[in-house]
């Protein structure tokens, strides 16, 4: 079976700084992968390369067997990779519904002039779109916030909305950058369930960055550990947890999870 995502010897250099060096990972359809590592290890940089924001200086990103390196950011999205951001980047001034509508951008197609005249077909498509988006919000229990301005929503809801927005692009691979940041233990618990549910409900493969070990150990099939831009270890969560190299990078010598 060919992997959905296969990253080979990915590296990026900012001037004299080798931020990420020969990173690799492999994700099969339906798996949940995790990237962990201390602050500044280059996790978000990896995500930025996986979504085209930073062009890598070395390596390849194979997605469904196609090398995506060199494509524009929206090209990555068109191929089915969606993401959330560590520091939420919603369209703040817009309603939750409009956030989702923009994410459906690639799924709405009508000509420029029919659009100008707002023909009946265009009107019908816009109505359908409204329903599609409302149903996405509903599935993530956000329906009640549809008409609320994104910036006014509670923090947890904003995080959920960002996930909903990423899902609205109908991705095959969903990248979550620290989805549990700023959440309390109960919320993290809830999030673990949500992530598993999203995988099954939306049939997506998930790759997440997280500091929260409990969450990573709970949901991930496969964990990759990075430190100072280098791949430290990889494997099943339980294997990684007891790997002395990993424990040392995180907690220093003699530490214990």
């Amino acid at each position: 079976m060919t992997a959905l995502l296969e990253v080979r010897s990915l590296g990026i250099r900012f001037g004299g700084l080798q931020a990420v060096d020969s990173f690799h990972c492999r994700l099969n359809q339906g798996e949940i992968g995790g990237i962990i590592g201390p602050n500044g290890a280059g996790k978000t940089t990896i995500f930025n390369m996986l979504t085209g924001i930073y062009p890598p200086t070395a390596g390849e990103i194979f997605f469904r067997g196609e090398n995506l390196v060199g494509r524009p950011i929206h090209g990555f999205t068109e191929h089915g990779i969606a993401r959330t951001f560590q520091n939420i980047r919603l369209f703040k001034e817009l309603s939750a519904l409009d956030n989702i509508k923009i994410a459906r951008h690639m799924k709405v197609k009508y000509g420029f002039f029919p659009g100008l005249f707002r023909t009946e077909a265009v009107s019908r498509r816009e109505n359908e779109l409204e329903e599609e988006c409302l149903s996405i919000l509903e599935r993530l229990s956000l329906a009640q916030y549809a008409r609320h301005k994104a910036s006014g929503l509670p923090y947890g809801v904003q995080r959920r909305l960002e996930i909903a927005r990423a899902l609205a692009t109908s991705p095959e691979l969903l990248l979550l950058d620290e989805p549990a940041a700023g959440m309390n233990p109960q919320e993290v618990d809830q999030l673990s369930k949500t992530i598993l549910w999203i995988r099954d409900e939306f049939k997506v493969t998930i790759l997440l960055i997280e500091h929260h070990m409990q969450l990573v150990m709970g949901v991930c099939d496969h964990v990759t550990v990075v430190s100072f831009g280098k791949l430290l270890a990889e494997g099943k969560p339980d294997e990684v947890k007891v790997n002395p190299v990993v424990v040392e990078a995180y907690l220093g010598k003699g530490g214990k999870f």
């Binding site: 969606a82 993401r83 409009d98 509508k101 459906r104 816009e126």
Partner: protein
């Protein structure tokens, strides 16, 4: 079954027919008042220029308000539209010798040429200059406006620095030009509303809100920034074409950066990001400037004071983010759509 379809059709087009009827009634009312000598041609002409300013400001709103790109060279596009359309009616055709039945067609063609030419310039300018953002883009567009004006001074065929006289006043006040202006104004409002509330318009808004997030949602932000630039230029060009055929004389200095800043002031005073803001701002300030004309040299000082007071007490503009409800397309599911609409501000 057929009957039901017909009914649905009527219901669908009823608002459009209503708007068209309202515009016609408005035109007839003004025409009647003019013939009854209640309104002098001077007032009608102010109204026409107000509508033209609305058109240009609406285009500028798409670029600055909706797409969030700071462009301040709108007068350059107006100039392109004015000169290219005037070239059609004076150089290409001998407009006044054409049979009366052909004149409206040629005039329509001239306005289209004006809009098209401005659109081409919009693309030529937008494509390279949208690589820069904010203040830098403002400087580039300002420079562009001035370059256009300087170039026209060198083109002898359109009068160069002396200006171009003798343009047929086909849209002049006395020739019922208000009808033409109203027609193009209504068309502009309708098209721009449809554009803003289409997926393209939402893509433009996403460029304004967060370009990186927009890209990761699959929006090709360059495409939509350039597109907004072109659409805004076409509107300005059409307005320029009308202007040339109202006064019958155009001069490069009518399209200086002062004119560009006028449009910016209209937009920001009215409320950036909404069509209501562009329309109310352009119309009211055009009229206020005319009312203040009796103050002679004091006029611009008072005008300045008015603007400062507005910044103090109504910083988000007269309309401050509220869109005219009829400018938000109705969706079936959207029974209680928010007042702000997609533009959000």
């Amino acid at each position: 079954m057929k009957e039901r379809n017909a009914n649905a059709g009527i219901r669908r087009y009823a608002p459009m027919i209503g708007v068209a009827a309202a515009v016609v009634v408005f035109y007839l009312a003004i025409e009647y008042l003019r013939q009854a000598r209640v309104l002098t041609p001077y007032y009608v002409q102010i109204l026409m220029f107000g509508l033209l300013n609305c058109m240009v400001t609406l285009g500028l709103n798409l670029i600055n308000g909706i797409t969030g790109q700071f462009s301040i060279g709108q007068a350059g596009f107006v100039a392109v539209g004015a000169y290219s359309s005037a070239a059609v009616t004076t150089l290409l055709f001998e407009f006044n010798k054409l049979p009366a039945t052909l004149q409206p067609l040629v005039f329509l063609f001239a306005v289209c040429v004006g809009g098209f030419a401005a659109g081409v310039f919009g693309y030529l300018i937008g494509r390279p200059s949208l690589r820069v953002k904010g203040d830098y883009l403002a400087i580039v567009t300002l420079g562009f406006g001035e370059i256009i004006r300087s170039l026209i001074r060198y083109i002898e065929a359109v009068g160069g620095p002396r200006g171009l006289p003798g343009i047929p006043q086909y849209a002049g006040v006395r020739g019922g030009g208000l009808a033409w202006v109203l027609f193009f104004f209504t068309l502009t409002v309708w098209f721009l509303r449809n554009y803003i509330y289409s997926f393209r318009g939402r893509a433009c808004v996403s460029c304004r809100e967060d370009e990186l997030a927009a890209e990761t949602m699959g929006v090709n932000t360059t495409t939509y920034k350039v597109q907004a630039f072109i659409v805004g230029a076409v509107t300005a060009g059409a307005a320029g074409a009308l202007q040339a055929h109202i006064i019958g004389f155009i001069h490069p200095d009518q399209f200086s950066y002062v004119r560009s800043t006028d449009f910016l002031v209209y937009l920001y005073a009215g409320g950036v990001g909404t069509m209501s803001g562009a329309i109310i701002g352009a119309m009211s300030l055009t009229i206020v400037l005319e009312i203040l004309r009796f103050l002679a040299d004091w006029r611009l000082i008072i005008y300045g004071v008015v603007l400062v007071l507005m910044m103090l007490y109504q910083p988000n503009g007269i309309c401050s983010g509220k869109e005219f409800p009829f400018l938000i397309p109705k969706l079936k599911a959207a029974a209680k759509s928010s007042k702000a609409g997609v533009t959000g501000r």
